[in-house]
Point group: C2
Chain length 299, copies 2
Protein backbone atom coordinates (compact mmCIF):
# COMPACT_ATOMS: atom_id res chain seq x y z
CA UNK A 1 0.00 0.00 0.00
CA UNK A 2 2.75 2.47 0.87
CA UNK A 3 5.68 3.14 -1.42
CA UNK A 4 9.02 1.57 -0.52
CA UNK A 5 7.62 -0.34 2.45
CA UNK A 6 9.53 -3.56 3.00
CA UNK A 7 11.40 -5.63 5.56
CA UNK A 8 10.41 -5.31 9.23
CA UNK A 9 8.11 -2.42 8.36
CA UNK A 10 5.50 -4.39 6.47
CA UNK A 11 3.99 -6.20 9.45
CA UNK A 12 3.80 -3.06 11.55
CA UNK A 13 2.26 -0.90 8.85
CA UNK A 14 -0.29 -3.65 8.17
CA UNK A 15 -1.11 -3.82 11.90
CA UNK A 16 -1.82 -0.08 11.81
CA UNK A 17 -3.87 0.00 8.63
CA UNK A 18 -6.05 -2.97 9.50
CA UNK A 19 -8.07 -0.89 11.96
CA UNK A 20 -8.81 2.20 9.96
CA UNK A 21 -10.62 4.38 12.52
CA UNK A 22 -13.25 6.95 11.54
CA UNK A 23 -11.22 8.60 8.76
CA UNK A 24 -12.78 11.89 9.75
CA UNK A 25 -9.87 14.00 8.52
CA UNK A 26 -9.79 12.62 4.95
CA UNK A 27 -13.59 13.06 4.84
CA UNK A 28 -13.09 16.75 5.63
CA UNK A 29 -10.54 17.08 2.82
CA UNK A 30 -12.82 15.32 0.34
CA UNK A 31 -15.97 17.27 1.24
CA UNK A 32 -14.19 20.65 1.35
CA UNK A 33 -12.61 19.92 -2.04
CA UNK A 34 -16.02 18.89 -3.40
CA UNK A 35 -17.29 22.44 -2.88
CA UNK A 36 -15.31 23.42 -6.00
CA UNK A 37 -13.51 21.74 -8.86
CA UNK A 38 -10.52 19.67 -7.78
CA UNK A 39 -8.49 16.94 -9.44
CA UNK A 40 -9.81 13.68 -7.92
CA UNK A 41 -6.31 12.18 -7.76
CA UNK A 42 -5.04 15.17 -5.80
CA UNK A 43 -7.97 14.81 -3.36
CA UNK A 44 -7.16 11.14 -2.81
CA UNK A 45 -3.46 11.83 -2.26
CA UNK A 46 -4.08 14.64 0.21
CA UNK A 47 -6.82 12.66 1.98
CA UNK A 48 -4.53 9.66 2.41
CA UNK A 49 -1.70 11.95 3.54
CA UNK A 50 -3.76 13.55 6.34
CA UNK A 51 -4.80 10.15 7.60
CA UNK A 52 -1.12 9.10 7.70
CA UNK A 53 -0.25 12.36 9.51
CA UNK A 54 -2.96 11.57 12.07
CA UNK A 55 -1.74 7.97 12.35
CA UNK A 56 1.89 9.10 12.85
CA UNK A 57 0.77 11.42 15.64
CA UNK A 58 -1.18 8.57 17.30
CA UNK A 59 1.83 6.24 17.16
CA UNK A 60 4.02 8.90 18.79
CA UNK A 61 1.29 9.91 21.29
CA UNK A 62 1.09 6.32 22.48
CA UNK A 63 4.79 6.49 23.38
CA UNK A 64 4.30 9.76 25.24
CA UNK A 65 1.17 8.60 27.03
CA UNK A 66 2.46 5.08 27.66
CA UNK A 67 -0.80 3.87 26.08
CA UNK A 68 -1.06 0.10 25.76
CA UNK A 69 -4.15 -0.02 23.54
CA UNK A 70 -5.27 1.84 20.44
CA UNK A 71 -8.36 1.12 18.39
CA UNK A 72 -9.02 -2.00 20.42
CA UNK A 73 -5.62 -3.63 19.87
CA UNK A 74 -2.08 -3.22 21.19
CA UNK A 75 -0.40 0.08 20.33
CA UNK A 76 2.80 -0.07 18.24
CA UNK A 77 4.74 1.10 21.31
CA UNK A 78 3.28 -1.71 23.42
CA UNK A 79 3.73 -4.43 20.79
CA UNK A 80 7.09 -3.50 19.23
CA UNK A 81 8.60 -1.11 21.79
CA UNK A 82 9.02 2.65 21.99
CA UNK A 83 12.09 2.66 19.78
CA UNK A 84 10.31 1.06 16.87
CA UNK A 85 7.31 3.33 17.46
CA UNK A 86 9.51 6.45 17.14
CA UNK A 87 10.75 5.23 13.76
CA UNK A 88 7.37 4.06 12.49
CA UNK A 89 5.90 7.48 13.24
CA UNK A 90 8.77 9.17 11.40
CA UNK A 91 8.30 6.81 8.49
CA UNK A 92 4.60 7.64 8.30
CA UNK A 93 5.42 11.40 8.28
CA UNK A 94 7.75 10.84 5.32
CA UNK A 95 5.14 8.77 3.48
CA UNK A 96 2.55 11.47 4.09
CA UNK A 97 4.82 14.10 2.56
CA UNK A 98 5.52 11.88 -0.41
CA UNK A 99 1.76 11.70 -1.02
CA UNK A 100 1.35 15.45 -0.49
CA UNK A 101 4.02 16.26 -3.02
CA UNK A 102 2.78 13.73 -5.60
CA UNK A 103 0.01 15.92 -6.87
CA UNK A 104 -0.72 18.73 -4.52
CA UNK A 105 0.06 22.41 -4.61
CA UNK A 106 2.65 24.04 -2.40
CA UNK A 107 -0.10 25.82 -0.49
CA UNK A 108 -1.37 22.44 0.69
CA UNK A 109 2.05 21.22 1.84
CA UNK A 110 2.54 24.48 3.77
CA UNK A 111 -0.91 24.20 5.35
CA UNK A 112 -0.17 20.67 6.51
CA UNK A 113 3.33 21.49 7.80
CA UNK A 114 1.97 24.32 9.93
CA UNK A 115 -0.69 22.00 11.33
CA UNK A 116 1.94 19.37 12.21
CA UNK A 117 4.11 21.99 13.92
CA UNK A 118 1.00 23.09 15.85
CA UNK A 119 0.28 19.47 16.89
CA UNK A 120 3.80 19.11 18.27
CA UNK A 121 3.57 22.43 20.11
CA UNK A 122 0.20 21.39 21.54
CA UNK A 123 1.56 18.09 22.84
CA UNK A 124 4.69 19.78 24.22
CA UNK A 125 2.58 22.39 25.98
CA UNK A 126 0.41 19.62 27.43
CA UNK A 127 3.51 17.79 28.63
CA UNK A 128 4.85 21.00 30.21
CA UNK A 129 1.59 21.65 32.08
CA UNK A 130 0.81 18.27 33.60
CA UNK A 131 -0.87 18.54 37.04
CA UNK A 132 -0.75 22.34 36.65
CA UNK A 133 -4.16 24.01 36.55
CA UNK A 134 -2.79 27.57 36.61
CA UNK A 135 -3.48 28.37 32.94
CA UNK A 136 -7.16 27.55 33.42
CA UNK A 137 -9.68 27.22 30.62
CA UNK A 138 -7.81 29.59 28.30
CA UNK A 139 -4.59 27.55 28.33
CA UNK A 140 -6.67 24.38 27.84
CA UNK A 141 -8.36 25.85 24.77
CA UNK A 142 -4.98 26.89 23.35
CA UNK A 143 -3.68 23.35 23.88
CA UNK A 144 -6.61 21.66 22.13
CA UNK A 145 -6.52 24.21 19.31
CA UNK A 146 -2.87 23.31 18.69
CA UNK A 147 -3.08 19.58 19.20
CA UNK A 148 -6.41 18.81 17.47
CA UNK A 149 -8.36 21.71 15.97
CA UNK A 150 -5.48 23.02 13.88
CA UNK A 151 -5.29 19.78 11.84
CA UNK A 152 -9.09 19.75 11.34
CA UNK A 153 -8.81 23.34 10.07
CA UNK A 154 -5.88 22.36 7.84
CA UNK A 155 -7.89 19.50 6.28
CA UNK A 156 -10.67 21.90 5.33
CA UNK A 157 -8.25 24.57 4.13
CA UNK A 158 -6.32 22.01 2.07
CA UNK A 159 -9.55 20.79 0.45
CA UNK A 160 -10.51 24.38 -0.36
CA UNK A 161 -7.04 25.02 -1.80
CA UNK A 162 -7.30 21.94 -4.00
CA UNK A 163 -10.67 23.15 -5.25
CA UNK A 164 -9.39 26.67 -5.87
CA UNK A 165 -12.12 28.26 -3.72
CA UNK A 166 -11.96 32.02 -3.15
CA UNK A 167 -10.23 33.33 0.02
CA UNK A 168 -13.51 34.08 1.83
CA UNK A 169 -14.88 30.55 1.34
CA UNK A 170 -11.45 29.04 2.16
CA UNK A 171 -11.28 30.96 5.43
CA UNK A 172 -14.89 30.08 6.28
CA UNK A 173 -14.15 26.39 5.70
CA UNK A 174 -10.93 26.55 7.73
CA UNK A 175 -12.80 28.17 10.62
CA UNK A 176 -15.54 25.54 10.30
CA UNK A 177 -12.81 22.89 10.65
CA UNK A 178 -11.30 24.68 13.62
CA UNK A 179 -14.63 24.85 15.47
CA UNK A 180 -15.41 21.23 14.62
CA UNK A 181 -11.98 20.25 15.92
CA UNK A 182 -12.56 22.11 19.18
CA UNK A 183 -15.92 20.37 19.62
CA UNK A 184 -14.41 17.01 18.75
CA UNK A 185 -11.64 17.32 21.34
CA UNK A 186 -13.98 18.74 24.00
CA UNK A 187 -16.29 15.76 23.54
CA UNK A 188 -13.37 13.33 23.44
CA UNK A 189 -12.10 14.77 26.72
CA UNK A 190 -15.57 14.41 28.27
CA UNK A 191 -15.63 10.80 27.13
CA UNK A 192 -12.64 10.13 29.34
CA UNK A 193 -14.98 10.93 32.27
CA UNK A 194 -18.03 9.04 31.09
CA UNK A 195 -17.23 6.14 28.75
CA UNK A 196 -16.33 2.52 29.35
CA UNK A 197 -13.08 1.01 28.15
CA UNK A 198 -15.14 -1.20 25.86
CA UNK A 199 -16.67 1.63 23.84
CA UNK A 200 -13.48 3.69 23.86
CA UNK A 201 -11.02 1.00 22.71
CA UNK A 202 -8.46 2.40 25.16
CA UNK A 203 -8.34 2.75 28.97
CA UNK A 204 -10.80 5.25 30.48
CA UNK A 205 -9.97 7.90 33.04
CA UNK A 206 -6.40 8.02 31.96
CA UNK A 207 -6.22 11.78 31.32
CA UNK A 208 -6.67 12.91 34.89
CA UNK A 209 -4.58 10.05 36.30
CA UNK A 210 -1.71 11.18 34.07
CA UNK A 211 -2.13 14.81 35.14
CA UNK A 212 -3.74 16.02 31.90
CA UNK A 213 -6.25 18.64 32.94
CA UNK A 214 -9.20 18.80 30.56
CA UNK A 215 -12.19 21.12 30.83
CA UNK A 216 -14.33 18.97 33.18
CA UNK A 217 -11.39 18.69 35.59
CA UNK A 218 -10.61 22.41 35.41
CA UNK A 219 -14.29 23.20 36.03
CA UNK A 220 -14.41 20.77 38.97
CA UNK A 221 -11.65 22.76 40.66
CA UNK A 222 -14.24 25.51 41.30
CA UNK A 223 -16.61 23.04 42.98
CA UNK A 224 -16.75 23.86 46.69
CA UNK A 225 -17.15 20.22 47.70
CA UNK A 226 -14.68 18.37 45.41
CA UNK A 227 -12.40 21.17 44.21
CA UNK A 228 -10.10 21.02 47.26
CA UNK A 229 -9.70 17.21 46.96
CA UNK A 230 -8.77 17.53 43.29
CA UNK A 231 -6.35 20.36 44.06
CA UNK A 232 -4.66 18.28 46.77
CA UNK A 233 -4.25 15.33 44.36
CA UNK A 234 -2.72 17.61 41.73
CA UNK A 235 -0.28 19.00 44.27
CA UNK A 236 0.68 15.49 45.34
CA UNK A 237 0.79 14.48 41.63
CA UNK A 238 -1.05 11.26 42.38
CA UNK A 239 -4.56 9.90 42.76
CA UNK A 240 -5.65 7.02 44.89
CA UNK A 241 -8.01 4.67 43.07
CA UNK A 242 -10.99 5.64 45.19
CA UNK A 243 -10.26 9.32 44.72
CA UNK A 244 -10.28 9.07 40.94
CA UNK A 245 -13.64 7.27 41.00
CA UNK A 246 -15.13 9.92 43.32
CA UNK A 247 -13.77 12.75 41.17
CA UNK A 248 -15.26 11.26 37.99
CA UNK A 249 -18.63 10.95 39.65
CA UNK A 250 -18.32 14.50 41.00
CA UNK A 251 -17.49 15.85 37.54
CA UNK A 252 -20.76 14.41 36.28
CA UNK A 253 -22.89 15.38 39.32
CA UNK A 254 -21.50 18.91 39.74
CA UNK A 255 -22.23 20.04 36.21
CA UNK A 256 -18.55 20.15 35.18
CA UNK A 257 -19.17 17.60 32.42
CA UNK A 258 -22.30 19.49 31.30
CA UNK A 259 -20.28 22.70 31.15
CA UNK A 260 -17.73 21.09 28.83
CA UNK A 261 -20.50 19.68 26.64
CA UNK A 262 -22.09 23.12 26.41
CA UNK A 263 -18.74 24.50 25.33
CA UNK A 264 -18.63 21.81 22.62
CA UNK A 265 -22.20 22.76 21.70
CA UNK A 266 -21.29 26.41 21.08
CA UNK A 267 -18.36 25.35 18.90
CA UNK A 268 -20.70 23.16 16.86
CA UNK A 269 -23.07 26.11 16.50
CA UNK A 270 -20.20 28.27 15.23
CA UNK A 271 -19.26 25.47 12.80
CA UNK A 272 -22.85 25.37 11.48
CA UNK A 273 -22.85 29.14 11.00
CA UNK A 274 -19.70 29.02 8.91
CA UNK A 275 -21.14 26.29 6.70
CA UNK A 276 -24.38 28.21 6.21
CA UNK A 277 -22.33 31.20 5.02
CA UNK A 278 -21.25 29.09 2.04
CA UNK A 279 -23.33 28.63 -1.12
CA UNK A 280 -25.72 25.64 -0.88
CA UNK A 281 -24.19 22.44 -2.27
CA UNK A 282 -24.31 18.69 -1.78
CA UNK A 283 -20.96 18.68 0.00
CA UNK A 284 -22.12 21.49 2.33
CA UNK A 285 -25.11 19.35 3.37
CA UNK A 286 -22.76 16.43 4.04
CA UNK A 287 -20.59 18.65 6.25
CA UNK A 288 -23.72 19.84 8.09
CA UNK A 289 -24.70 16.19 8.63
CA UNK A 290 -21.24 15.61 10.07
CA UNK A 291 -21.82 18.44 12.56
CA UNK A 292 -25.15 16.88 13.52
CA UNK A 293 -23.55 13.45 14.00
CA UNK A 294 -20.98 14.92 16.34
CA UNK A 295 -23.71 16.88 18.16
CA UNK A 296 -25.73 13.68 18.65
CA UNK A 297 -22.72 11.51 19.52
CA UNK A 298 -21.70 10.54 23.00
CA UNK A 299 -22.30 10.99 25.74
CA UNK B 1 15.01 31.49 14.28
CA UNK B 2 12.29 28.96 13.48
CA UNK B 3 8.77 30.03 12.57
CA UNK B 4 6.08 29.67 15.26
CA UNK B 5 8.53 28.52 17.92
CA UNK B 6 7.36 29.60 21.34
CA UNK B 7 6.61 28.39 24.86
CA UNK B 8 8.49 25.35 26.20
CA UNK B 9 10.03 24.80 22.76
CA UNK B 10 12.29 27.83 22.69
CA UNK B 11 14.84 26.64 25.25
CA UNK B 12 15.11 23.18 23.72
CA UNK B 13 15.50 24.43 20.16
CA UNK B 14 18.16 26.90 21.35
CA UNK B 15 20.00 24.07 23.14
CA UNK B 16 20.07 22.16 19.85
CA UNK B 17 21.13 25.02 17.60
CA UNK B 18 23.90 26.28 19.87
CA UNK B 19 26.17 23.40 18.84
CA UNK B 20 25.86 23.43 15.10
CA UNK B 21 27.95 20.39 14.13
CA UNK B 22 29.76 20.13 10.83
CA UNK B 23 26.84 21.19 8.62
CA UNK B 24 28.08 18.77 6.00
CA UNK B 25 24.65 18.16 4.48
CA UNK B 26 23.81 21.85 3.80
CA UNK B 27 27.31 22.25 2.33
CA UNK B 28 26.49 19.46 -0.14
CA UNK B 29 23.24 21.19 -1.13
CA UNK B 30 24.99 24.54 -1.59
CA UNK B 31 27.92 23.18 -3.60
CA UNK B 32 25.75 20.96 -5.79
CA UNK B 33 23.43 23.89 -6.48
CA UNK B 34 26.44 26.07 -7.28
CA UNK B 35 27.24 23.86 -10.26
CA UNK B 36 24.36 25.57 -12.09
CA UNK B 37 22.11 28.58 -11.68
CA UNK B 38 19.90 28.40 -8.59
CA UNK B 39 17.91 30.99 -6.65
CA UNK B 40 20.09 31.76 -3.58
CA UNK B 41 17.03 31.96 -1.30
CA UNK B 42 15.92 28.50 -2.41
CA UNK B 43 19.42 27.13 -1.69
CA UNK B 44 19.37 28.61 1.81
CA UNK B 45 15.90 27.24 2.54
CA UNK B 46 16.76 23.74 1.34
CA UNK B 47 20.15 23.82 3.10
CA UNK B 48 18.54 24.79 6.39
CA UNK B 49 15.85 22.16 5.87
CA UNK B 50 18.32 19.29 5.41
CA UNK B 51 20.17 20.32 8.56
CA UNK B 52 16.86 20.27 10.49
CA UNK B 53 16.06 16.86 8.98
CA UNK B 54 19.44 15.62 10.16
CA UNK B 55 18.92 17.20 13.59
CA UNK B 56 15.45 15.63 13.92
CA UNK B 57 16.93 12.24 13.13
CA UNK B 58 19.68 12.74 15.76
CA UNK B 59 17.12 13.71 18.42
CA UNK B 60 15.09 10.58 17.67
CA UNK B 61 18.21 8.38 17.37
CA UNK B 62 19.27 9.44 20.85
CA UNK B 63 15.98 8.05 22.18
CA UNK B 64 16.47 4.80 20.33
CA UNK B 65 20.12 4.43 21.33
CA UNK B 66 19.59 5.71 24.88
CA UNK B 67 22.45 8.15 24.17
CA UNK B 68 23.15 10.56 27.01
CA UNK B 69 25.50 12.89 25.11
CA UNK B 70 25.42 14.54 21.71
CA UNK B 71 27.91 17.08 20.40
CA UNK B 72 29.56 17.25 23.82
CA UNK B 73 26.43 18.12 25.79
CA UNK B 74 23.37 16.29 27.10
CA UNK B 75 21.05 14.90 24.44
CA UNK B 76 17.46 16.21 24.39
CA UNK B 77 16.28 12.77 25.52
CA UNK B 78 18.67 12.82 28.49
CA UNK B 79 17.93 16.40 29.50
CA UNK B 80 14.17 16.68 28.88
CA UNK B 81 13.09 13.03 28.64
CA UNK B 82 12.16 10.71 25.79
CA UNK B 83 8.64 12.03 25.50
CA UNK B 84 9.77 15.57 24.85
CA UNK B 85 12.43 14.29 22.46
CA UNK B 86 9.79 12.48 20.36
CA UNK B 87 7.86 15.73 19.98
CA UNK B 88 10.90 17.92 19.36
CA UNK B 89 11.99 15.62 16.55
CA UNK B 90 8.50 15.76 15.03
CA UNK B 91 8.49 19.52 15.36
CA UNK B 92 11.82 19.76 13.54
CA UNK B 93 10.47 17.56 10.69
CA UNK B 94 7.54 19.92 10.29
CA UNK B 95 9.80 22.98 10.32
CA UNK B 96 12.03 21.36 7.71
CA UNK B 97 9.06 20.79 5.43
CA UNK B 98 7.90 24.36 5.93
CA UNK B 99 11.32 25.52 4.72
CA UNK B 100 11.30 23.05 1.81
CA UNK B 101 7.93 24.28 0.62
CA UNK B 102 8.77 27.97 1.03
CA UNK B 103 10.75 28.18 -2.17
CA UNK B 104 11.64 24.80 -3.47
CA UNK B 105 10.31 22.72 -6.28
CA UNK B 106 8.21 19.61 -5.79
CA UNK B 107 11.08 17.48 -7.01
CA UNK B 108 13.15 18.58 -4.03
CA UNK B 109 10.39 17.82 -1.51
CA UNK B 110 9.96 14.37 -3.04
CA UNK B 111 13.72 13.74 -2.98
CA UNK B 112 13.88 14.64 0.71
CA UNK B 113 10.79 12.61 1.65
CA UNK B 114 12.25 9.51 0.05
CA UNK B 115 15.50 10.05 1.92
CA UNK B 116 13.65 10.41 5.23
CA UNK B 117 11.68 7.23 4.56
CA UNK B 118 15.00 5.50 3.79
CA UNK B 119 16.52 6.76 7.06
CA UNK B 120 13.61 5.33 9.04
CA UNK B 121 13.83 2.01 7.21
CA UNK B 122 17.59 1.92 7.85
CA UNK B 123 17.15 2.50 11.57
CA UNK B 124 14.32 -0.03 11.75
CA UNK B 125 16.40 -2.62 9.94
CA UNK B 126 19.28 -1.94 12.34
CA UNK B 127 16.94 -2.35 15.30
CA UNK B 128 15.64 -5.63 13.86
CA UNK B 129 19.13 -7.06 13.37
CA UNK B 130 20.82 -6.28 16.70
CA UNK B 131 23.29 -9.00 17.74
CA UNK B 132 22.49 -10.81 14.47
CA UNK B 133 25.46 -11.17 12.11
CA UNK B 134 23.64 -13.42 9.62
CA UNK B 135 23.16 -10.76 6.91
CA UNK B 136 26.91 -10.16 6.79
CA UNK B 137 28.56 -7.30 4.94
CA UNK B 138 25.80 -7.01 2.35
CA UNK B 139 23.08 -6.37 4.93
CA UNK B 140 25.38 -3.90 6.69
CA UNK B 141 25.91 -1.95 3.46
CA UNK B 142 22.16 -1.87 2.84
CA UNK B 143 21.60 -0.51 6.36
CA UNK B 144 24.16 2.29 6.02
CA UNK B 145 22.90 3.16 2.54
CA UNK B 146 19.41 3.62 3.98
CA UNK B 147 20.32 5.31 7.23
CA UNK B 148 23.12 7.65 6.04
CA UNK B 149 24.13 7.55 2.38
CA UNK B 150 20.61 8.10 1.05
CA UNK B 151 20.36 11.55 2.72
CA UNK B 152 23.81 12.53 1.42
CA UNK B 153 22.67 11.54 -2.07
CA UNK B 154 19.42 13.46 -1.60
CA UNK B 155 21.32 16.62 -0.61
CA UNK B 156 23.34 16.48 -3.83
CA UNK B 157 20.29 15.61 -5.94
CA UNK B 158 18.29 18.44 -4.37
CA UNK B 159 21.08 20.92 -5.08
CA UNK B 160 21.22 19.72 -8.68
CA UNK B 161 17.43 20.01 -8.96
CA UNK B 162 17.53 23.59 -7.65
CA UNK B 163 20.22 24.42 -10.20
CA UNK B 164 18.30 22.79 -13.04
CA UNK B 165 21.21 20.52 -14.00
CA UNK B 166 20.63 17.94 -16.72
CA UNK B 167 19.68 14.36 -15.72
CA UNK B 168 23.18 12.94 -16.32
CA UNK B 169 24.86 15.53 -14.06
CA UNK B 170 22.08 15.19 -11.48
CA UNK B 171 22.53 11.42 -11.33
CA UNK B 172 26.33 11.75 -11.18
CA UNK B 173 26.03 14.18 -8.25
CA UNK B 174 23.51 11.96 -6.48
CA UNK B 175 25.85 8.97 -6.85
CA UNK B 176 28.76 11.10 -5.64
CA UNK B 177 26.68 11.90 -2.53
CA UNK B 178 25.79 8.25 -2.07
CA UNK B 179 29.43 7.13 -2.20
CA UNK B 180 30.51 9.96 0.11
CA UNK B 181 27.75 8.94 2.54
CA UNK B 182 28.93 5.31 2.49
CA UNK B 183 32.52 6.44 3.20
CA UNK B 184 31.35 8.80 5.94
CA UNK B 185 29.37 6.09 7.77
CA UNK B 186 32.12 3.48 7.30
CA UNK B 187 34.65 5.87 8.87
CA UNK B 188 32.21 6.86 11.61
CA UNK B 189 31.70 3.19 12.43
CA UNK B 190 35.47 2.62 12.57
CA UNK B 191 35.75 5.59 14.91
CA UNK B 192 33.64 3.69 17.42
CA UNK B 193 36.54 1.21 17.58
CA UNK B 194 39.40 3.68 17.68
CA UNK B 195 38.44 7.12 19.06
CA UNK B 196 38.36 8.47 22.59
CA UNK B 197 35.16 9.85 24.13
CA UNK B 198 36.83 13.24 24.20
CA UNK B 199 37.28 13.55 20.44
CA UNK B 200 33.96 11.91 19.65
CA UNK B 201 31.71 13.98 21.95
CA UNK B 202 29.74 10.84 22.76
CA UNK B 203 30.62 7.50 24.44
CA UNK B 204 32.96 5.23 22.48
CA UNK B 205 32.48 1.55 21.86
CA UNK B 206 28.76 1.83 22.19
CA UNK B 207 27.84 0.24 18.87
CA UNK B 208 29.08 -3.25 19.63
CA UNK B 209 27.92 -3.12 23.26
CA UNK B 210 24.42 -2.34 22.00
CA UNK B 211 24.56 -5.18 19.47
CA UNK B 212 25.01 -2.97 16.39
CA UNK B 213 27.27 -4.91 14.08
CA UNK B 214 29.38 -2.62 11.90
CA UNK B 215 31.94 -3.69 9.33
CA UNK B 216 34.97 -4.11 11.68
CA UNK B 217 32.87 -6.36 13.94
CA UNK B 218 31.51 -8.40 11.04
CA UNK B 219 35.04 -8.79 9.70
CA UNK B 220 36.34 -9.83 13.12
CA UNK B 221 33.87 -12.73 13.12
CA UNK B 222 36.09 -14.41 10.50
CA UNK B 223 39.20 -14.06 12.68
CA UNK B 224 40.23 -17.52 13.86
CA UNK B 225 41.42 -16.27 17.24
CA UNK B 226 38.74 -13.74 18.27
CA UNK B 227 35.81 -14.64 16.02
CA UNK B 228 34.50 -17.37 18.34
CA UNK B 229 34.64 -15.07 21.37
CA UNK B 230 32.67 -12.39 19.53
CA UNK B 231 30.16 -14.95 18.30
CA UNK B 232 29.64 -16.24 21.83
CA UNK B 233 29.06 -12.70 23.12
CA UNK B 234 26.51 -12.05 20.36
CA UNK B 235 24.68 -15.26 21.19
CA UNK B 236 24.61 -14.30 24.87
CA UNK B 237 23.62 -10.75 23.82
CA UNK B 238 26.06 -9.29 26.33
CA UNK B 239 29.73 -8.33 26.65
CA UNK B 240 31.80 -8.28 29.79
CA UNK B 241 33.91 -5.14 30.12
CA UNK B 242 37.15 -6.97 29.56
CA UNK B 243 35.76 -8.78 26.54
CA UNK B 244 34.78 -5.54 24.83
CA UNK B 245 38.25 -4.09 25.39
CA UNK B 246 39.90 -7.22 23.99
CA UNK B 247 37.58 -7.25 20.97
CA UNK B 248 38.35 -3.60 20.15
CA UNK B 249 42.04 -4.29 20.29
CA UNK B 250 41.61 -7.42 18.17
CA UNK B 251 39.64 -5.45 15.55
CA UNK B 252 42.62 -3.16 15.18
CA UNK B 253 45.31 -5.85 15.32
CA UNK B 254 43.59 -8.39 13.06
CA UNK B 255 43.11 -6.01 10.15
CA UNK B 256 39.33 -5.78 10.55
CA UNK B 257 39.55 -1.99 11.05
CA UNK B 258 41.91 -1.69 8.08
CA UNK B 259 39.46 -3.66 5.93
CA UNK B 260 36.66 -1.23 6.80
CA UNK B 261 38.89 1.75 6.07
CA UNK B 262 39.81 0.26 2.70
CA UNK B 263 36.13 -0.14 1.95
CA UNK B 264 35.69 3.58 2.80
CA UNK B 265 38.67 4.34 0.54
CA UNK B 266 37.08 2.66 -2.48
CA UNK B 267 33.86 4.59 -1.90
CA UNK B 268 35.84 7.83 -1.81
CA UNK B 269 37.55 6.82 -5.05
CA UNK B 270 34.14 6.24 -6.66
CA UNK B 271 33.01 9.64 -5.35
CA UNK B 272 36.04 11.32 -6.93
CA UNK B 273 35.35 9.59 -10.26
CA UNK B 274 31.78 10.91 -10.33
CA UNK B 275 32.98 14.45 -9.63
CA UNK B 276 35.61 14.25 -12.35
CA UNK B 277 32.89 13.26 -14.84
CA UNK B 278 31.33 16.72 -14.30
CA UNK B 279 32.50 19.87 -16.11
CA UNK B 280 35.30 21.69 -14.22
CA UNK B 281 33.96 24.39 -11.90
CA UNK B 282 34.79 26.10 -8.62
CA UNK B 283 32.10 24.14 -6.77
CA UNK B 284 33.39 20.86 -8.20
CA UNK B 285 36.86 21.65 -6.76
CA UNK B 286 35.27 22.36 -3.39
CA UNK B 287 33.49 19.01 -3.48
CA UNK B 288 36.79 17.31 -4.38
CA UNK B 289 38.40 19.04 -1.39
CA UNK B 290 35.61 17.67 0.76
CA UNK B 291 36.43 14.15 -0.44
CA UNK B 292 40.11 14.72 0.39
CA UNK B 293 39.23 16.01 3.87
CA UNK B 294 37.21 12.89 4.58
CA UNK B 295 40.02 10.73 3.14
CA UNK B 296 42.55 12.41 5.43
CA UNK B 297 40.26 12.46 8.48
CA UNK B 298 40.39 10.02 11.34
CA UNK B 299 41.63 7.58 12.20
Amino acid sequence: MLARTSGPLTGIVTHLLERPGKRLRPILVILAASLGEADPRAIIHVGAAVELIHLASLVHDDIIDGAKRRRGRPSVAAKWGNHTAVLIGDYLWAQAYMLLTCQAQYGVVGTMSEAIADMCQGELTQLASLYDPSGGEEAYLTRIRLKTASLFAACCRAGAQLAGLDPACTDALADFGLQLGFAFQLKDDVLDFTASARTLGKPVGSDLRRGILTLPALRLLDDSQHGPMLRACLEARRFARGELRRLYKAAQDSGAVTYALQSAGSRLQAARRQLLSLPPAWAREQLLDLVESLAAAYP
